[in-house]
């Protein structure tokens, strides 16, 4: 094989442009995350203090370990926050640009809807809607391809888990109609 082989090319209908305004800076997100984790640590510390953090004759009580871990966690967060505000050691690039964020939301919002819809329609119908909808609207793939792919995938999942392996998934009205 001396001459270069054939190429494989896959397109991306709407790729993010490089030049897009940053939506949030790396430093800001890092600070916010550390603050959130710090709040979580303090909440946990308080709850464990309530459970009991003292040392009995047989060793520590149930809250002992998590309490001190919360303190360590809080300490590490404070250290990180302090370093961020006192020094310039944290890189200050963009965390996410506007176009990138839009694309992330394109996946995240459907996923959130998917989980919500699942409560009423069951997992398989919701999966069908997610795959078909995502392919057609986000991927801009021809509707019939999207619908077929989604149908084949959902049905094969149903056969694999429900019929072959007996793994029970949340089901909705459609499955009940079919007698499952």
């Amino acid at each position: 094989m001396s001459k270069p082989d054939a190429e494989i090319v896959a397109g991306d209908p709407d790729q993010p442009e490089d030049a897009s305004p940053a939506l949030a800076g790396q430093r800001a997100v890092e600070a916010a995350t550390l603050a959130l984790v710090l709040a979580f640590a303090l909440l946990m510390a308080w709850d464990n203090w309530r459970t009991g953090i003292t040392w009995e004759s047989t060793g520590p009580k149930a809250g002992y370990f998590p309490f001190y871990l919360s303190l360590i966690l809080a300490g590490a967060c404070i250290f990180g926050l302090a370093r961020e505000f006192l020094t310039r050691a944290v890189p200050s690039g963009p965390f996410v640009t506007r176009n990138q964020f839009k694309r992330v939301m394109q996946v995240f919002v459907p996923t959130l809807l998917y989980v919500l819809v699942m409560q009423w329609l069951g997992l398989y119908v919701a999966s069908f809607l997610l795959i078909a909808g995502f392919m057609a609207f986000v991927g801009r793939i021809k509707p019939w391809i999207s619908l077929t792919t989604a149908l084949v995938f959902s049905v094969s999942m149903f056969v694999t888990f429900e019929v072959a392996f007996d793994v029970i998934m949340p089901k909705g009205p459609l499955e009940r109609l079919l007698g499952y």
Partner: protein, 475 residues
């Protein structure tokens, strides 16, 4: 086994899925099998993912896995020069050699270590867990406070629910859903699966690469040259095994071995321009390390990598408790697993060599079709573990956490490790306290436990100690 391998290579080729995610998502499929065939399937998914990562690195210059990044340095230039087939053969062969060395190591070393560890009591076990945690903090490449945040968070989350020693509820805030605790696998599916989809979506998805077909002639030609590179292969295997057992990981191993191969080479400049050793070195090391990460998991119940941690989670689902007792109580299971490692490797090698064109074509499938399917698989996986809708919400939450943490470079491996080992570490600590009437000196009560504990403390403060030593030696 074939199914496992196929799925694994598939997972390795797809950019949005890696070894840990693949194993985590496919785990529920195996719940209804008997443990031995289930673990064989899971480990085959793991081998497949290891093999598959190389395909995209060489043909498309896109590493399917973080540990194949070093393979792109020389693999892609080779493909550009029309030597894609040679590069792929080299990658697969060296992967095979790397894991073979590691499996041999496991076969001979694991029973010995397990035998030794049978004498361990709670204090010894706690000191070993402590050593694992400390070495992550001390030796990790990430910023220390971020490693500590990740680890402490994992340990706290592991503690949610009912306390196993006293039966007290803690950190549940009156919620019935939290009574069960946060399942480790649910967290993993979110942290790795969902967050990876979000991350992949952010990047450009268009790709352009080379197609390749491997002919028998090329394979034989590469294999004939193999003995010439025995030093590189041996060195890379050793690096891989060492970093696999200690929590260094496949990623570090592949880079280190690439750099060493370059340093020891007479012709340094040709690296990065399509040199076959540049493919041999990182691939051998990555696979040796990926495989040998299973050694401490089997023998001590301590996973050496993220994927090993998930396999360990799987073992616990079937009621098998990894650790030294596994070798005594479930002999056939352990040896079945080890046998499957040999077989899986050989079959995997043959499979990837023959099916490369097919798997490269998988990349033509648009991401918009693959992404929702992965989301669905993640949801099925998360739900199946405990049959709880709450777990799907948790998975979503962990997905967001994983996305943000990855972007601000808080490592996720310590969190995973801490979640698996958290409750066991706490149990062994409290059991040793009960045994010793609350006297901390029990961790220095004999030579063995004392030296492990001391070593752990040294590793924890290694960055400080190292700096002090440097200062002294400079004088």
């Amino acid at each position: 086994m074939m199914v496992g391998l196929t799925l694994g290579i598939f997972v390795g080729v797809l950019p949005g899925l890696g070894g840990p995610n693949g194993v985590a998502i496919l785990l529920p499929l195996t719940f209804t099998m008997d443990p031995t065939s289930a673990i064989v399937m899971l480990s085959c998914i793991y081998w497949g993912a290891l093999f598959g990562g190389a395909i995209t690195s060489i043909l498309f210059n896109i590493p399917g896995e973080a540990w194949s990044v070093a393979t792109t340095f020389d693999g892609y230039p080779m493909a550009q020069q029309g030597k894609a087939a040679e590069a792929l053969t080299a990658a697969f062969t060296s992967s095979f050699i790397g894991s073979l060395v590691a499996v041999l190591l496991i076969t001979f070393l694991a029973p010995l270590i397990a035998d030794f560890a049978l004498k361990f009591g709670p204090p010894e076990f706690f000191s070993v867990y402590f050593l694992t945690f400390c070495s992550f903090v001390g030796l990790g490449r990430e910023e220390k406070h971020k490693t500590i945040i990740s680890m402490a968070l994992g340990l706290i989350i592991a503690g949610i629910g009912m306390d196993t020693v006293s039966g007290t509820l803690r950190m549940t805030f009156g919620s019935n859903e939290l009574l069960r605790g946060v399942n480790f696998l649910v967290a993993v599916i979110g942290l790795f699966g969902i967050s990876e989809i979000l991350l992949t979506m952010e990047e450009r998805l268009a790709l352009r690469g080379h197609a390749a077909r491997i002919s028998l002639r090329v394979v034989l030609k590469v294999w004939k040259d193999l003995p010439k590179y025995w030093v590189t292969l041996l060195r890379s295997s050793a690096i891989g095994c060492w970093l696999g057992i200690t929590p260094g990981g496949a990623i570090a191993a592949s880079f280190m071995s690439y750099n060493l191969a370059k340093r020891f080479s007479k012709d340094k400049d040709s690296f990065g321009k399509g040199r076959i050793e540049g493919v041999f070195a990182p691939e051998t090391a990555a696979h040796a390390s990926g495989t040998s990460a299973l050694l401490p998991m089997l023998a001590l119940g301590i996973p050496g990598s993220g994927t090993a941690a998930i396999l360990l989670g799987g073992l616990m689902v079937w009621g098998l408790n990894p650790g030294p007792l596994l070798f005594v109580e479930h002999k056939d299971f352990v040896w079945g697993l080890i046998a499957s490692m040999y077989l899986g490797n050989i079959v995997g090698l043959v499979m990837v060599l023959t099916t490369v064109p097919f798997f490269a074509a998988v990349l033509r499938v648009p991401f918009a079709a693959i992404a929702p399917m992965i989301v669905v698989s993640c949801a099925i996986g998360a739900f199946a573990i405990q049959n709880a809708m709450f777990d799907i919400w948790l998975m979503l939450l962990f997905g967001v956490v994983g996305y943000v943490f990855k972007k601000i470079s808080i490592p996720l491996a310590p969190l995973t490790l801490a979640m698996v080992l958290g409750s066991r570490a706490e149990d062994s600590f409290r059991l040793s306290m009960i045994g010793a009437n609350g006297d901390l000196k029990v961790f220095w009560s004999n030579g063995l436990v004392g030296s492990i504990t001391t070593l752990a403390l040294v590793l924890l403060f290694w960055p400080l100690i190292g700096r002090a030593l440097q200062r002294v030696s400079r004088r």
